[in-house]
């Protein structure tokens, strides 16, 4: 990423992703091991993170009081959030015009993982913070 794009990513992280993550976290109480897992996958490639979240969302979690396991609900929502995060790469102009389809896809994945990493760092801090108060 260029220096200008890095600066825009920092602004995006402070001005949008932090409040998005805080709002998202307020709905959940994720186990610490799951927070660690999510954080670890956010440090890899976009495809690995996407696969991990998809796998966790599709897993056969035991129902709780006849309803969906809250961790499954979290990952289903996280899957939607990843789609939103990926869309932000275009919305914030992080991917230049004039690239081939494959180049656009690769470039989008490279930027999307950076955005997702920011989001997940804020999300994990907020989830841990909430957990401390419970």
């Amino acid at each position: 990423m260029t220096a200008d794009q890095e600066a825009r990513l920092r602004l995006f992280s402070d001005n949008e992703l932090l409040s998005e993550a805080e709002h998202f976290a307020s709905e959940f109480d994720l186990p610490s091991a799951q927070i660690s897992g999510l954080l670890a996958f956010s440090l890899g490639e976009w495809s690995e993170l996407e696969r991990f979240v998809g796998h966790q969302a599709d897993r056969n979690w035991q129902e709780v009081r006849g309803g969906e396991h809250p961790t499954k609900t979290f990952y289903k929502e996280m899957k939607k959030k990843l789609t939103w995060l990926r869309e932000q790469t275009a919305a914030w102009g992080f991917v230049p015009d004039g690239l081939t389809k494959n180049e656009t896809r690769d470039r989008t994945s490279q930027v999307a993982i950076r955005i997702a990493r920011e989001f997940i760092q804020h999300l994990s801090a907020q989830l841990l913070f909430q957990k401390g108060g419970r």
């Binding site: 600066a7 920092r10 602004l11 402070d14 001005n15 932090l18 907020q126 913070f129 957990k131 401390g132």
Partner: protein, 147 residues
């Protein structure tokens, strides 16, 4: 006065307005974290090196989460508010108001409103100054020379 000097001047003026709050937090930190200078050093380090406000907030959230109930960053005041929680609230809400005051004043005096990037830089500068003041008061508090 050029724009950069206008920011420096307004930042200095706003930093003076939260000195008593910084002292209060510094004293509280000295009571909550005696012998834990590394915790304050960590906060100073993050504040001074980070390019994002959210990094400072994330750090405080994680440190507060690690503390045991009623201890260290989770020590409560008389109103049962926790140190870490109150620091986060002060930085996010009170310093944001100070940031807006700096940016509005510079905008008025130079005829050009602050950009989002400038607002972020001002916010970071205010956080650094606040943490510096808290750390100084913490030192005084743990040294036993605080009033």
């Amino acid at each position: 006065m050029n724009r950069e000097m206008a920011f420096v001047r307004e930042l200095a003026m706003q930093a003076d307005t939260f000195y008593s709050e910084s002292e209060g937090f510094g004293r509280w930190a000295a009571r909550a974290l005696p012998g834990k200078r590394a915790q304050i050093t960590g906060l100073e380090s993050i504040a001074n090196s980070s390019l994002k406000i959210s990094d400072v907030l994330d750090y405080l959230k994680k440190q507060t989460a690690k503390a045991k109930a009623g201890k260290e960053w989770r020590q409560q005041d008389k109103a049962h508010k926790e140190l870490g929680h109150q620091l986060i609230t002060f930085i996010r809400d009170d310093l944001r108001v100070k940031r807006d005051a700096v940016c509005n004043s510079v905008g008025d005096s130079t005829g050009q409103g602050a950009s989002e990037f400038e607002k972020q830089q001002v916010f970071l500068a205010l956080i650094r100054e606040f943490v510096r003041q808290v750390a100084a008061q913490y030192e005084l508090g743990v040294s036993g020379h605080d009033g």
